[in-house]
């Protein structure tokens, strides 16, 4: 548990943190602009600029403004949301292995989406994101209500979450095995976490909740620092730990559920981004949360761009690439971090 308990930031490391945030922000912007330039149809930079700023000369309105731009916006929103959600859950459950997965959000969302598509094929697929969101909330609500009601410790909460996750996961596997519907593609692609076919309509329904929830998460970051001190200490300084835990988990759940609804299951971001952030700026959540959000944005935008560039006109799901590229980096970070903690 020591992974999330660090000394408060000293002024010097605070400056370092701000510089790091600035550098990351620049990287995110660069990656986002790059993602506008890659895809199945090569478009010259000049045309992209013309289209973005509505200048004279050749424009590619649909591809830039209606295809790549909404995808970029969604990648940024979902990347930040998943990273924040993961960071909060890791801090609340006080377990570095935690991620939105651990309270069943992803499997709950996946199961509900699949049930909608495979069991009720008559219901239009536009409702799939809503079903996913509800599924994530149902799974997480169950875990939280049980844990809160019985006043369980963090580790019990995590274990119940894992168990609930397995139940939903089994449901997903069951549906996949009994149906051979590999042909109707939407749910399968969605399960791997993809931005294929996303439009402004998806941005319209998700940007407000994601922005508001992300802001709330950043505002609540100091409470994470208190909880990180340990349940007894936090209670000792007057924090109602169970209530704060519930509130924070609720924010984390909503963040993850809404992102899962719009970009599908991208489980790895919520685990990886907070750890990368912690490695970069330490455990103080006031600094770690914004850094994690930026790292999450960077990862998803890059994964989506690379997925489009790798084998056009076929797109590789961003979720697959995020894991494929991120995992080795993640392992490297873990190897170096562990040795530091041991000393």
């Amino acid at each position: 548990m020591s992974a999330v308990v660090h000394a408060p930031a000293r002024p010097r490391s605070r400056l370092r943190g701000l510089v790091l945030i600035a550098v990351l922000a620049v990287l995110v912007i660069a990656a986002a602009l790059w993602s506008l330039s890659v895809g199945a149809v090569p478009i010259p930079t000049q045309t992209i600029i013309n289209t973005l700023f509505n200048l004279d000369g050749e424009q590619q309105t649909y591809i830039i403004m209606k295809s790549r731009l909404p995808r970029m916006v969604l990648a940024l929103l979902a990347g930040a949301a998943l990273a924040l959600s993961g960071a909060i859950i890791q801090a609340v459950i006080r377990n570095p292995l935690a991620s939105p997965n651990i309270i069943g959000i992803n499997s709950g969302a996946a199961l509900f989406a699949l049930v909608l598509v495979l069991v009720f094929p008559d219901i239009p697929q536009v409702w799939m994101p809503l079903a996913a969101c509800i599924g994530g909330l149902v799974a997480a609500a169950f875990v939280m209500v049980v844990a809160h009601y019985r006043n369980l410790s963090a580790i019990h909460l995590a274990l119940i979450g894992v168990a609930v996750g397995f139940v939903f996961e089994a449901g997903v596997d069951y549906l996949l095995i009994v149906s051979n519907d590999s042909e109707s593609s939407a749910p399968m692609i969605w399960l791997t976490g993809s931005l294929w076919g996303r439009t402004w309509a998806h941005v319209a329904v998700s940007w407000l909740p994601l922005v508001v929830l992300s802001a709330v998460a950043l505002l609540l970051s100091y409470r994470l620092d208190l909880i990180a001190l340990g349940e007894a200490t936090a209670t000792g300084i007057g924090l109602n730990v169970p209530r704060q835990r519930l509130l924070l988990l609720l924010v984390a759940t909503l963040l993850a559920s809404v992102s899962v609804a719009v970009v599908g299951v991208m489980g790895f971001i919520g685990l990886m981004a907070p750890h990368i952030a912690r490695r970069l700026v330490g455990g103080s959540h006031r600094l770690m949360l914004p850094v994690a959000a930026l790292v999450g944005m960077l990862l998803v935008v890059l994964a989506d761009g690379i997925g489009r560039a790798i084998a056009p006109p076929i797109e590789v799901s961003a979720g697959i690439l995020a894991a494929l590229i991120g995992a080795p980096f993640f392992i490297y970070i873990m190897l170096t971090t562990t040795s530091e903690q041991d000393s």
Binding site: S179, E183, A186, I314
Partner: protein, 307 residues
């Protein structure tokens, strides 16, 4: 006087109402009603059966979801539509960017495959959708008619369908009375076998020619009800007298079953009435032209039936 003013106003209103219709044709399809510009010139199709429908009336699409395999558009089609079309990727997840870059004025999509991206497709161009994946032979012919209407080729399609009926009736006559025979089309992809049920395209085509089908007819029209993944036990239970097999892998899974009593005792296997056909042409291609190819295959198969 007064009446005349009313009449003139009415005429004006009617002309105003009719004027836009002259520029576009309203097409009712599985995912709604869509205004398609008069005689669209740049058409993108996202299923093979729509290539079939366009080829039947001599229209060449500019983009095809060909699963990134140009050969999947068989010579019977390219002979009509040529080679000037661009691949827009897979049928499962076609590239919206490539579709947009072709600046289409009509997109023809599959109801179940592309429902989730119907909104995105409609932003690019008017999009009409038909049930190609799980529809029957009759559904495919209806879709072909509607597609011909959408591209302003009603007369051509009428003529082509008349020719089609003559051809198919000819095949039917050559095949003769097969009502005593149960026939089953199966796909073997090396890992599993998939039976095309009575509600599937191939199932309905075999029924049209008069074959029996030993499978129970499902109520609905979902993919699982049309294309049924089947075990050896289930196949032996269904026990068809004729098996028409499309193999995507060689050796197929069924080949590995040779020697197993359960398989060897399936009626069609025992009597030697198992026939191989082109898996791609049978299981993926649908429509006016494709069904004529299947019909010709069936005539050959029936000639070789061991009674």
């Amino acid at each position: 006087m007064f009446n005349r003013t009313i009449l003139a106003t009415l005429a004006g209103v009617i002309m105003l109402a009719v004027a836009p219709l002259a520029q576009a044709v309203e097409i009712k399809h599985d995912l709604g009603t869509t205004e398609v510009p008069d005689e669209p010139k740049r058409i993108v199709v996202l299923e093979y059966s729509f290539v079939d429908s366009l080829a039947a009336v001599g229209v060449a699409p500019v983009g095809i979801a060909d699963d990134d395999t140009r050969e999947s558009i068989v010579p019977a089609y390219t002979a009509v539509i040529g080679d000037d079309w661009k691949s827009v990727g897979t049928r499962k997840s076609p590239s919206l960017e490539v579709i947009a870059s072709l600046q289409p004025d009509l997109i023809i999509a599959d109801t179940s495959r592309h429902e989730a991206i119907y909104g995105a497709l409609s932003e690019i161009a008017p999009t009409i959708a038909f049930d190609s994946l799980t529809g029957t032979y009759q559904v495919a012919l209806e879709a072909a008619k509607t597609i011909a209407h959408a591209v302003g080729k009603d007369a051509e399609m009428e003529a082509r369908l008349a020719e089609h009926t003559t051809k198919m009736e000819g095949f039917k006559a050559a095949i003769g009375d097969v009502s005593a025979w149960s026939a089953q089309f199966i796909v073997d992809n090396g890992e599993g076998i998939f039976l095309h049920s009575p509600v599937s395209y191939n199932g309905s085509l075999l029924s049209w020619f008069g074959f029996k089908n030993n499978m129970t007819t499902p109520d609905g029209h979902t993919y699982e009800e049309a294309i049924v993944k089947t075990s050896l036990e289930q196949l032996s239970e269904i026990n068809p007298q004729v098996i028409i097999r499309g193999k995507y892998a060689d050796p197929g899974l069924t080949d590995s079953w040779v020697g197993q009593p359960l398989y060897d005792n399936v009626e069609a296997v025992k009597t030697g009435n198992l026939f191989d056909v082109n898996a791609h042409e049978w299981s993926r291609l649908r429509g006016v032209i494709a069904s004529e190819v299947s019909g010709a295959n069936l005539v050959e198969i029936v000639k070789n039936l061991k009674k």
